[in-house]
């Protein structure tokens, strides 16, 4: 075996913050061979990016390598002078970042940005640099590259921006490419295309690549070797197949379990010990609905037009029975959120009717709906747990709020008891209740959000992408919690998501939405197994499954 291209040896990195020193990386050792694609996975905050930044010396001013070595072609990167490292960057190693749109200079034409990178390392004329830039745009398969040279990032889609980012990164033929979550933030269909392209380019040019991701599926698909990080430590290193079939470390096990696959069910997502109470609930047979019971919610030909322009929602009809769960999927901008907000009576529909429990509520203006007796029967859980909690309310206040407003509890022991009960039902430790949102983790915030939603025992819970911002392991727990609540309390769920895997697991029925109109609906499993429309099919195919048969992009080697 030859000397590895990159060898990280017992790396320690710490940040000085106001809460004192944070150790972000605590002894990472790994190596990358020339031409190899290495996967670096782990949940959020595990130190993946920091490791990558340390390698290119792009750490924040607050961060410092406290111990260890980063040997790149035998040179210790941590000891290089500013100028030397600058010559290395771009020319020998470069990075691709998450969220390509913000990673590109918004007011500089993309051709110029690529040329900038080229001119830094090559002594060639401007025109030659532009010519090379054009070549690169071709290489990353941007259509109509001549015209795109003068385009600005905002004129390109996210996927195209990521291609430009790749073009910049490979402009000087580096030998090492660090791709930090190159596809998060892109929608599912683009994700796949971009990753394929990246893998192909890396293979063609013989570049070693570190693929940083929290998506185990993605890593298994493209990498031969995967290292798993947890809390700044490297916990496992293995080939994808072995990692999946026989995870060694407890953390890896949990990670593997939580990653949804084409066939997994909700109770597969969590490890044995976490499963306990859930299974109980699942075992309880669901009583069949009494014949002739009217459905809980009937939505009839709902239309929503905003100030001007086309309708955001056009002709939307659906029903939900008590205790049923319905998924609502569709690409971004298809009107999912608008629909759910109308159903929650937060905004007024332009046309159509909403009948809840036999009573029409669609015509009560949203402005006055807070006085309606049904207000406490319909509640909502919001997309991003980070912004769904009032920063000035403690967790307790958040949960208590609906109880005080709608449940007629005006403080005192009764309230406290109810809040604690809700918290306990969503698995939120009572000692977290006095904390403010910024003192809680994402998963904890999500739980507070759900506890608040169920506090008044609503009969319909609308969930607008409640797990989109969460790690897989947290997502798994939340999903399970929701499913359990539905079964225990007979709450009807309307689940909005663009993650089809999740919808399939959680929902009995699914509605596919496009441009505000329903394109397909039906039993979840049937719908996903053989979609009737192309649109649905595209959506389904783009889901990154963990395929045990790893497609090796670097097979050429």
């Amino acid at each position: 075996m030859t000397e590895p291209l990159l060898k990280i040896d017992n790396l320690h990195i710490s940040f000085s913050t106001r809460r004192g020193v944070v150790e972000a990386v605590r002894g990472v050792t790994l190596s990358v061979q020339e031409g190899e694609m290495l996967g670096l996975v782990g949940e959020s905050g595990s130190g993946k990016s920091v490791t990558g930044f340390a390698t290119t010396r792009l750490l924040d001013a607050a961060g410092r390598v406290t111990a260890g070595k980063i040997l790149f072609r035998g040179q210790d990167v941590t000891k290089l002078s500013g100028d030397d490292i600058r010559h290395l960057r771009g020319a020998a190693m470069s990075m691709i970042f998450q969220n390509p749109r913000s990673a590109l200079n918004p007011i500089r034409a993309i051709g110029t940005q690529i040329a900038d990178a080229i001119l830094t390392h090559k002594r060639i004329s401007k025109n030659e640099a532009y010519a090379e830039a054009l070549e690169l745009l071709r290489a990353v398969q941007i259509r109509d590259p001549e015209r795109r040279m003068a385009a600005y990032p905002h004129e390109l889609s996210g996927g195209m921006c990521q291609r430009v980012m790749i073009a910049i990164a490979i402009s000087c033929n580096p030998v090492l490419l660090i791709a930090d979550e190159p596809t998060t933030g892109l929608d599912v269909t683009t994700q796949k295309v971009v990753m394929d392209l990246l893998a192909a380019i890396a293979a063609a040019r013989g570049m070693a690549t570190i693929l940083i991701t929290h998506d185990l599926g993605l890593a298994t698909r493209y990498c031969r070797r995967i290292v798993v990080m947890e809390q700044g430590r490297l916990v496992e290193e293995a080939a994808p197949k072995r990692l999946f079939n026989a995870p060694q470390h407890a953390y890896t096990k949990r990670l593997v379990a939580a990653s949804p696959t084409a066939s997994s069910r909700i109770d597969d997502l969590v490890t044995e010990e976490e499963r306990g109470p859930y299974v109980e609930a699942c075992r309880k047979p669901k009583p069949p609905p009494a014949p002739g019971t009217p459905p809980l919610l009937v939505v009839h030909r709902l239309v929503k037009r905003f100030d001007q322009g086309a309708a955001a929602v056009a002709d939307f009809s659906m029903t939900i029975a008590a205790g049923e769960s319905v998924g609502l999927v569709g690409e971004s901008g298809s009107g999912k959120s608008t629909t759910s907000r109308m159903i929650c009576r937060l905004i007024d529909p332009s046309e159509g009717d909403i009948v809840f429990d036999g009573q029409a509520i669609g015509h009560v203006p949203a402005r006055d709906f807070h006085r309606s007796p049904f207000r406490k029967d319909i509640h909502m859980v919001f997309q991003d747990p980070n912004e769904s909690l009032n920063p000035r309310f403690t967790a307790f206040d958040c949960i208590a709020h609906p109880l005080m407003r709608l449940g007629n509890l005006r403080g005192g022991d009764a309230l406290r008891q109810r809040v604690e009960e809700c918290a306990q039902r969503v698995g939120l430790p009572a000692d977290l209740l006095p904390r403010f949102p910024h003192q809680l983790s994402g998963g904890q915030k999500a739980r507070v959000g759900i506890a608040r939603a169920i506090a008044c025992r609503p009969r319909l819970l609308v969930l607008d992408e409640p797990t989109a911002a969460l790690d897989v392991s947290v997502q798994a727990v939340v999903l399970q919690l929701l499913d359990r609540l539905r079964r225990e309390d007979d709450i009807a769920l309307l689940f909005v998501s663009h993650d089809l895997n999740v919808v399939r697991m959680l929902c009995e029925r699914t509605i596919v939405l496009r441009n505000g109109a329903i394109v397909e609906q039906g039993e979840s499993r049937a719908l996903f197994d053989n979609p009737k429309t192309d649109y649905t099919r595209e959506l389904v195919e783009a889901i990154p499954h963990i395929e045990i048969e790893t497609r090796l992009a670097t097979a050429a080697l």
């Binding site: 792009l58 600058r86 960057r89 771009g90 913000s102 990673a103 500089r108 900038d116 990178a117 600005y152």
Partner: protein, 336 residues
């Protein structure tokens, strides 16, 4: 361009509002201009009536307003009692003085604020950062009239470095043929370097005392947006491909950071135009603001109304200019 035009049209109601509001505000002023100006040693009731008739004050307020709007529509802003001139003429003569002063002050402020903001942002929390901050805070806390008087006292009275603070040019230098009204430019066109220098020397103190006051907001916004820009992803990208430090800071960070500075500079410019009353007073600068102040104190309606209308129009124009600049500097705005 279309966008600029649309914006201009959409600001016309605001201009109209300003016009009517000023008109009414002036009528609310308890002073009666006729009485004030009829202050000859023997002015009697007749004379007051005479002036009142001259000013059209004998009519009812709605009638006056209609007449005024009609006049404004024809480009006639009335006549100033103070100078005895048409307000349009007065303003036309005095506006270049104010503009020249304000532009120069803004230029000085920008030239010093942007580098200050940038170096502060490059080392946030450092001693340099704090010094810049302190300097800016000091600048903004000295009222312009105090700094103006002090500058005069030191540079004119004590040191004799500056020429006498009596306007745009000392009386012994002859004025250049007026082309633009901006002396700095007119002298250059006329090729009169001595004259240019004389005018420049007159300009520098008032411009400085105004600039001192606005350096702070400009430097502050530069620092803030530079910090944002330096911490942004695209600067990290630029660094990750090894661009030189200068390239990163100037081409990538600064060019993006300058966008909010343009907006603030526009606001600062229009506030300065109105707020330089004090500086104009202290330096006997023949500008529009001191003209309006005198008119206000003597309840001379027409000049005050004309001035406010002028300022409001300038405000609209400056905003428009800022928009256009922004549009040039930032390719994104056209789609929004």
């Amino acid at each position: 361009m279309v966008r600029a035009g649309r914006r201009f049209v959409s600001s016309l109601p605001a201009l109209f509002g300003v016009l009517v509001f000023t008109f009414l505000l002036m009528r609310v002023l308890p002073g009666d201009p006729a009485v004030f100006f009829a202050s000859g040693p023997n002015a009697g009731k007749e004379e007051v009536e005479l002036i009142r008739k001259q000013l059209g004050l004998n009519k009812s307020i709605p009638e006056q307003l209609t007449l005024y709007l009609y006049d404004v529509g024809r480009g006639n802003l009335g006549r100033s009692m103070m100078t005895g001139q048409l307000v349009t003429k007065d303003l036309r003569e005095r506006l270049p003085a104010s503009l020249e002063l304000t532009f120069t002050a803004l230029l000085i402020a920008l030239v010093s604020a942007v580098p200050l903001g940038v170096i502060a942002a490059l080392k946030p929390g450092s001693i340099i950062d704090h010094s810049v901050r302190l300097f800016c805070a000091l600048g903004v806390c000295v009222p312009t009239f105090v700094s103006g008087l002090l500058l005069i006292y030191v540079f004119y009275y004590l040191l004799g470095l500056a020429p006498d603070p009596t306007g745009r040019i000392d009386v012994f230098t002859s004025m250049p043929p007026s082309r633009t009204g901006f002396l700095m430019i007119d002298f250059l066109i006329a090729g009169d370097i001595d004259g240019w220098w004389a005018a420049f020397k007159q300009l520098i103190l008032p411009a400085l005392s105004m600039a001192l006051f606005v350096i702070a907001p400009l430097a502050r916004i530069t620092r803030a947006s530079m910090l944002v820009s330096l911490g942004s992803d695209f600067v990290r990208t630029a660094r990750s491909v090894g661009l030189s430090w200068r390239h990163v800071v100037v081409t990538y960070a600064l060019r993006n950071a300058i966008l909010p500075v343009i907006t603030i500079a526009g606001i600062v410019f229009s506030t300065m135009l109105g707020a330089n009353v004090l500086v104009e007073k202290v330096f006997s600068w023949p500008g529009v603001a001191s003209y309006a102040l005198d008119a206000l104190l003597s309840s001379d309606y027409a000049p005050v109304q004309g001035f406010v209308l002028l300022m409001a129009s300038l405000f609209v124009l400056v905003n428009l200019a800022v928009d256009v600049c922004y549009g040039i500097a930032d390719p994104r705005v056209t789609i929004e």
